[in-house]
Subunit: 231 residues, 2 copies
């Protein structure tokens, strides 16, 4: 097993929570355009977190997500104001978002570790989604970058895990389905597991994940069996 | 006219230099796939500048551009190693890149201002492209963010203009075809002109350009006539 790991920090969106929930709501609101809309919405949501962080213009993830939705709809000529409640229903898809089917069984097998979430999501988005998914009590810490007002991949965002858990970065395993997030976490000094749910090619950011697994349950084997008890 | 402006700083790629040159080389190397390749290459190039800046892992623009090309080809199943010189020929398209037809006449009409370039490009990329385009001597300052080892939209990148020109930010007009760059420059305190060459919708980054023009020559009217001479 990977020695010295005391805690696992999970990315939220795309890693634990299935963004397909969001796509489905997009498709219901704009039949035939759901995939296109949700893809551009997500792309812009991430771009805006990076740009705002870099220029020192932080705004919380709810607002960034709202702005990204507005741009995506404008860009695709979709009328977000009709019906009037369309915007709110699309936004709420982030609050009641499905978890992937491998999340509950995987977390159960990893209960010997401290389990945390480190996410760009605002505190309200995270607490609502965790509760809605029936994950209350599973994580010792649900950490939002909102505490430091800067998004991943800033070292200050990853540093929150150390502050909150009181352990060194060498004791943290970090799991994310987003390669860019893995690159940030690896540069920070975490042991990293890329959950390559989308079967995507590796990005060229100068760092590689410690392990790559196709679904979250691959993390159980990657971390190995618990050390044999001495009694 | 807009009062108090002493200098104009121009973004390079997409604003002065026409990225269609790059697309054309992509199309020659990979017939039928040029548009797709150049689009993904550009998207990743920008993403990597933001991600590397945010995580403190700066690498110069030549290397970032090379990495982005490698990812784009892998992602699109294009073999960059065949023919063996393909990679170098694609990269060199950035060194000998056409200028838009409105650049020379526009700059001639704005010669009463100090004219500068502020670009993510590495010093070698910029000097080669400026020379290749016949723009030697037109700009008093060709400034690369490489001096501060962080990309736009960091305030440290825009701050280079003030350091090099020795003027306050209220005396600088900044022109770019990239909305995200305009947002960074506006947040920094420059007067901004978005050259919306692509007829794109406005992004939702919480700031708006001071003026938007369809092509670079629109900047001449936006800055107004020279103040009447007092003699």
């Amino acid at each position: 097993m990977k020695p010295g790991i005391q805690a696992i920090a999970f990315d939220a969106y795309g890693t634990l929570f299935d963004l397909y929930s969001v796509t489905a709501v997009c498709e219901r609101k704009f039949p035939g355009r759901g995939v296109e809309l949700s893809r551009l919405w997500r792309t812009k949501q991430l771009e805006y977190t990076w740009l705002r962080s870099l220029s020192g213009q932080y705004e919380d993830f709810w607002m960034v997500t709202r702005s990204a939705l507005a741009f995506a709809c404008r860009s695709l000529n979709l009328n977000l104001a009709c019906p009037p409640q369309a915007r709110e229903e699309l936004m709420e898809s982030y609050l009641h978002i499905d978890i992937f089917s491998d999340v509950q069984p995987t977390l159960a097998k990893l209960s010997r570790f401290r389990l945390a979430i480190l996410s760009n999501g605002s505190p309200r988005m995270l607490s609502t989604a965790v509760e809605s998914a029936g994950l209350n009590g599973v994580f010792t810490d649900v950490i939002s970058v909102d505490e430091v007002k800067i998004y991943k991949t800033s070292p200050r965002a990853y540093g929150l895990v150390l502050q909150r858990l009181g352990i060194p970065n060498s004791a943290v395993a970090f799991a994310s389905s987003n390669f860019w997030d893995i690159a940030g976490a690896k540069s920070f000094g975490f042991w990293t597991c890329w959950v390559n749910r989308g079967k995507l090619p590796e990005e060229e950011l100068g760092v590689m994940p410690d392990v790559t697994v196709p679904t979250l349950d691959g993390l159980v084997n990657a971390l190995g069996e618990p050390a044999a008890s001495s009694d």
